[in-house]
């Protein structure tokens, strides 16, 4: 299991990257962390003749919260993003999902933007970008453009990016006041792709203004999925939830779950049947919605917590 011959280019600037892409884009690939790409190369399932290693280029490692946007440069590792306090306070769903991305040694090297470019329907971060309503900034020698996830994701492992284009950053909107967000999944082993995973953003009328003890009411809900849709499709569930007091969330569970189960389109494989994945997605969604309704802050499970494994297992 050794990769085919290839040439590694190590551009130092974004401009050099774009130049190289304009020449080698069709016969080459961009490599950042390489945690999805290198296994494919080692197994010789792909044999690009040129690899454009962008890891030593300046200007791609920004990670900052600007206003209500979390800006994640192409070189920001999953691990750095997961541990960034400003990001977590702006939108805890990122860290919540990132904890489920493989294992720390992979997250140390793998990048969030790379994961989005890879567009694996089993991947957490393409869905999180879609769920949060985020977008990617794209550049080529021909110019720059922004792409929403709807336009970016064409199919499983397939994006609308041209061979000469580079995603320079992904932008995740912060949660708005009154919103709570969370992610959960069930995987066979820790670090595996989830058999099914669900991310949710729950909106309420609790906008931080003192409500004199009045109970918050749900105003909206949307959900996204891993491993059970081909591309990161988001379902808007406002019609089932709007107007329900948070404490009454159990009254809307069945409707939400059945809408979700109707929306997703899981396939079966050696790890689980399609029916099971559909069922499981419903269970995860129900537990996640209950969790979000209970929690007081913006969301995020306590470090690495999940509703999907029994407590006190060991």
């Amino acid at each position: 299991m050794k990769p085919s011959p290839l040439r590694i280019h190590r551009p130092k600037t974004i401009e050099e990257i774009l130049e190289l892409l304009s020449v080698h884009g069709t016969s080459g690939k961009i490599i950042a962390g390489g945690q999805s790409l290198v296994p494919v190369l080692n197994m010789r399932l792909a044999a690009p003749r040129n690899l454009i290693d962008i890891t030593s280029a300046a200007g791609l490692d920004e990670l900052e919260v600007v206003g209500d946007e979390i800006r994640v440069g192409a070189l920001v590792s999953h691990r750095r993003l997961e541990r960034d306090p400003a990001t977590t306070s702006a939108n805890p769903i990122l860290a919540d999902a990132l904890r489920h991305v493989a294992h720390p040694a992979i997250r140390n090297r793998g990048t969030t933007v790379g994961s989005i470019a890879h567009a694996d329907p089993n991947g957490e971060m393409p869905m999180i970008l879609a769920l949060t309503g985020g977008w990617v900034e794209v550049r080529s020698v021909r110019g720059a453009r922004s792409l929403t996830t709807e336009s970016l994701n064409v199919g499983p492992l397939e994006t609308c990016l041209e061979p000469d284009e580079l995603i320079t950053s992904a932008v995740f909107p912060a949660l708005r006041p009154g919103q709570r967000a969370g992610f959960d999944e069930l995987a066979r082993r820790s670090g595996d792709y989830g058999l099914a995973g669900v991310g949710m953003i729950l909106s309420t009328d609790d906008n931080g203004v003192d409500r004199a003890g009045a109970e918050a009411t749900i105003t909206g809900l949307k959900a996204g999925f891993v491993s059970v849709t081909d591309i990161p499709d988001i379902i808007e569930l406002d019609e089932f939830v709007a107007g329900t007091p948070l404490s009454q969330v159990s009254t809307i569970l069945d409707d939400v779950i059945s809408a979700i189960k109707g929306f997703i389109d899981p396939g079966g494989d050696i790890h689980a049947s399609a029916d099971y994945r559909r069922h499981l997605t419903g269970v995860i969604a129900g537990r996640l919605l209950k969790r979000l309704s209970r929690q007081r802050d913006g969301g995020g499970s306590p470090a690495g917590g999940s509703e999907m494994r029994q407590e006190g297992a060991r």
Partner: protein, 815 residues
């Protein structure tokens, strides 16, 4: 007095080297040698029409490209049928390189030798092979049906058929008050050591000799096989086993196609050739284990006593059987377990399929046997409404030795030589809290949780013969060199054998240095498999050390003018018992033992032929003696000694997701006196972890075309730490009468009853029978649906129990 080393938790002497990156595994050696890569069949069943290697030859750095026709002489023949057995009706083995036909995806067809592995793979990728595809046979059911045949010339797919009967099963069943039928399925897994296989062959053109390093479980076996197939004198082949990164059975088969092909290439090219198996190769071209379809008919009385047991099973042996029928044979001889069963009949059919071959994996067929027996015993308990431990108690063998009446893999009649099953069960019940479990279940149920308790008992024949040997040499420095022929792959041999030798010889452990698996040092050995290393080589070294000691005392007796009977060795010093003033170091005896002509150092000067007075009429080395404080001895037992143990597990199954978590795992284990309890516990932990993998995570998923769908660690779900429970252990040490140290094997024990123990616990949690393993959440959820639909019956004892008889509660309903 020296503390006895036997029984102490001595830290491992191999560790400082291994933890600092100073281990020397196969691929760490011969850096810079040329590398081999193999073109393997992409098809499960096909005729080879044409092989075009032109593209490969053009690749810069390629040294040789070999197909079957390049293999010389006997190397081109079918690989040996290593272990014949009367039950084998149609022996088929493969070739080093397939000539005209392939029988599984992964079968080697072409070998490329190149400057390095990268280039070898480039070239391999450019070889074009034209196939005529045949329909593959995948799985027991298809093979049994026999509509398509794996091996041409056969009328069905049966490689072996065997019946053994003890007592009279038919009348036993006729007269039994109750009869139950149980149908079971066990799926494939694999040893999957962290280091794959590998071989380095170095041809020495000066003396026309071959030196081979292999990550093998038998260096002596491989040496003999290569000498025979390369048609060179045995004395010109040596095989050395370096550090081995785990084996678990898969490295016992020999010669592997690659070992033979690489050795031939080394000779032909007069160079050193290395092949390091990569992970994908290991998945598709090494060996798997475990797939069986089983049926049990059992007759029993009102107390659950088994009157008669009739077992049939169909064993998927894959494409070839070079290692014979050890796996199904072990299954067939271990079903009765710790139970006293007067009437027992087993019939098996071993079946060819177009899949990777099946050879032993830790437990080697015994896990399958225990699965049959223990699922059956649980079914009896359920049928009678009895506690599962009571049924076991009512059936336990209580007197030893207990002849089993069946012929084992070593050709001898099986016999339970030692044990105390009643005490073991008491210990297990105490450890897991068996009698308090119902209260725990009620408490869990009140919290909306579903838990279950399971049990599995087993016996395991260990320490099979025919023999192992030891060779011990005491240097003039006092350093004690110890060799045994079998190989080491994590068993702490350098530590436990040193403990044995230190005790028997009376020397400090620090002075003892153990080496294994090197045919240059000890060319007689069988290999490391079947929980036999400690029993066989341990006892052989014990005997060897006693022999060395006797020689040392004899020589010292002459010097100290004392009767050897009155001498002892403590901490390497020989002295007259009760008179420490009259003493000499063992090192000095080593000096005296070797009258030399040359005085090259201080101790040699003391030993020269002129240094000491010898009676004029006596030669320096007396008749019947040998120079040097050095001895060799062998141990060969009458029969295998049978170890035993019992496991219990508490599992939790998620009422909605059907996710399965092992909350507690308890082991009571009897391998006789433990040489090093720390090492034994480590073996148990590792065995259980493999068992948990086989119970809940691992299976080889073949599609109908014979393609292995999960040939990677991404999809073959070997457990991480997060999936393995904390393991609680207790021990019973009943000595075996079959060897001087009284020890029984421990290596495989952890794995054997794990799948059935977890099945037992899931069954207890769910309230319906679990008859197939492994079980994943998706399959358990499917079983729940079938149960809810009435297609899977509730356990008899749990009918009316809401947790068992109603479908999984779900706020979303079932699909």
């Amino acid at each position: 007095m020296t503390t006895r080393m036997f029984g102490q938790k001595i830290k491992r002497r191999e560790d400082p080297r291994l933890v600092t990156g100073n281990g020397r595994y196969l691929d760490d050696l011969a850096n810079g040698s040329v590398a081999a890569a193999f073109v393997r069949s992409p098809h499960a069943h096909a005729d080879i029409i044409d092989i075009d290697v032109t593209g490969a030859i053009d690749v810069e750095g390629v040294i040789a490209v070999w197909t079957h026709e390049d293999l010389p002489g006997q190397a081109a023949d079918r690989l040996p049928m290593l272990i014949p057995h009367p039950s084998i009706v149609a022996p088929h083995t493969g070739f080093a390189l397939a000539p005209d036909h392939v029988n599984f995806v992964g079968e080697p067809i072409v070998m490329v030798v190149a400057r390095d592995r990268y280039i070898a793979e480039d070239a391999a990728g450019r070889i074009e092979i034209e196939f005529d595809l045949l329909e593959p046979i995948v799985g027991v059911e298809q093979s049994r049906a026999g509509e398509r045949i794996v091996h041409q010339g056969m009328s069905d797919n049966v490689s072996a058929h065997y019946v053994q009967e003890v007592g009279d099963v038919d009348s036993g069943l006729e007269n039994a008050p109750h009869v139950l039928d149980v149908e079971l399925e066990f799926e494939r897994s694999a040893c999957m050591p962290m280091e794959g296989k590998g071989v380095i062959a170095a041809w020495n053109r000066e003396d026309e000799s071959l030196q081979v390093h292999s990550s093998t479980q038998t260096s002596t076996g491989l040496r003999a096989a290569l000498a025979a197939r390369l048609e060179i004198p045995l004395t010109r082949v040596e095989v050395i086993t370096p550090d081995v990164g785990g084996a678990f059975g898969v490295k016992i088969n020999h010669p592997w196609p690659e070992e033979l092909a690489v050795a031939c290439a080394a000779r032909a090219l007069e160079t050193t050739v290395k092949w390091t198996e990569d992970r994908r190769e290991h998945f598709i071209s090494s060996a798997h284990e475990r797939a069986q379809t089983q049926t049990v008919r059992v007759g029993f009385d009102d107390d659950g006593r088994i009157c008669s047991l009739d077992v049939k099973f169909w064993h998927d042996n894959g494409a070839y059987i070079p290692y014979g029928v050890i796996v199904p044979l072990n299954t067939s001889t271990h079903v009765m377990g710790p139970y006293n069963i007067a009437n027992y009949r087993v019939e098996y059919w071993s079946l060819y399929t177009n899949t990777v071959m099946v050879t032993p994996y830790r437990g080697a067929g015994r896990a399958h046997a225990v699965f049959m027996m223990e699922r059956t015993v649980d079914a009896i308990a359920d049928e009678l409404g009895m506690d599962r431990t009571q049924v076991r108690l009512n059936n336990f063998v209580r007197e030893f030795p207990h002849p089993m009446g069946v012929t084992m893999q070593d050709g001898a009649e099986g016999c339970l030589d030692s044990g105390d099953f009643v005490t073991s069960l008491d210990k297990l019940k105490e450890l897991v809290g068996w009698d308090d479990f119902e209260a725990y279940r009620d408490q869990a149920r009140a919290e909306g949780r579903r838990v279950g308790l399971g049990i599995g008992c087993y016996v395991e024949s260990t320490g099979a013969g025919p023999y192992e040997g030891g060779h011990i040499e005491v240097e003039t420095s006092g350093r004690v060199n110890v060799w045994t022929g079998l190989t080491t792959h994590g068993q702490a041999h350098a530590t436990v054998f040193a403990q044995i030798v230190a005790d028997a010889l009376g020397v400090p452990m620090d002075s003892v240095h153990v080496a294994t698996g090197d045919t240059r040092k000890l060319s007689y050995s069988v290999g490391t498999w079947g929980s036999r290393g400690a029993v066989m080589a341990g006892n052989a070294l014990h005997l060897t050390a006693q022999k060395v000691k006797a020689k040392a005392l004899k020589i010292a007796g002459e010097s100290l003018e004392a009767d050897p009977e009155d001498l002892e060795i403590v901490d390497g010093i020989i002295s007259v018992k009760g008179d420490p003033s009259s003493s000499m170091p063992l090192a000095a005896v080593s000096v005296l033992s070797n009258p030399l002509r040359y005085a090259f150092d201080e101790s040699a000067r003391a030993a020269t032929q002129f240094a000491k007075e010898t009676a004029a009429e006596e030669p320096s080395v007396k008749a019947g003696e040998q120079p040097g404080l050095e001895e060799q001895e062998f141990f060969s037992p009458l029969r295998s000694t049978v170890a035993n143990g019992m496991h219990a597990a508490i599992v939790e199954t998620d009422p909605e997701t059907a996710d399965i978590t092992v909350l507690r795992y308890c082991v009571v284990h009897d391998c006789g006196p433990m040489i090093n309890p720390m090492v034994v516990e480590g073996q148990v932990h590792g065995g259980v972890a493999q068992g948990v993998g086989g119970a809940l995570y691992e299976r080889m998923a073949y599609d109908e075309d014979g393609q292995l769908l999960n040939a990677s660690f991404m999809d073959f779900l070997m457990p991480f730490a997060s999936e393995i429970p904390h393991i609680e252990t207790d021990h019973l040490e009943t000595p075996s009468p079959l060897n001087p140290l009284g020890i029984k094997g421990a290596g495989e024990a952890g794995t054997i009853p794990t799948a059935t123990t977890i099945a037992s616990a899931i069954e207890d949690a769910e309230g319906f029978p679990i008859r197939a393993m492994p079980l994943d959440p998706s399959s358990l959820w499917e079983l729940r649906n079938q149960h809810a639909a009435g297609a899977v019956p509730s356990l008899k004892s749990r009918r009316g129990d809401s947790a068992a008889s109603s479908p999984a509660p779900s706020n979303s309903g079932l699909q």
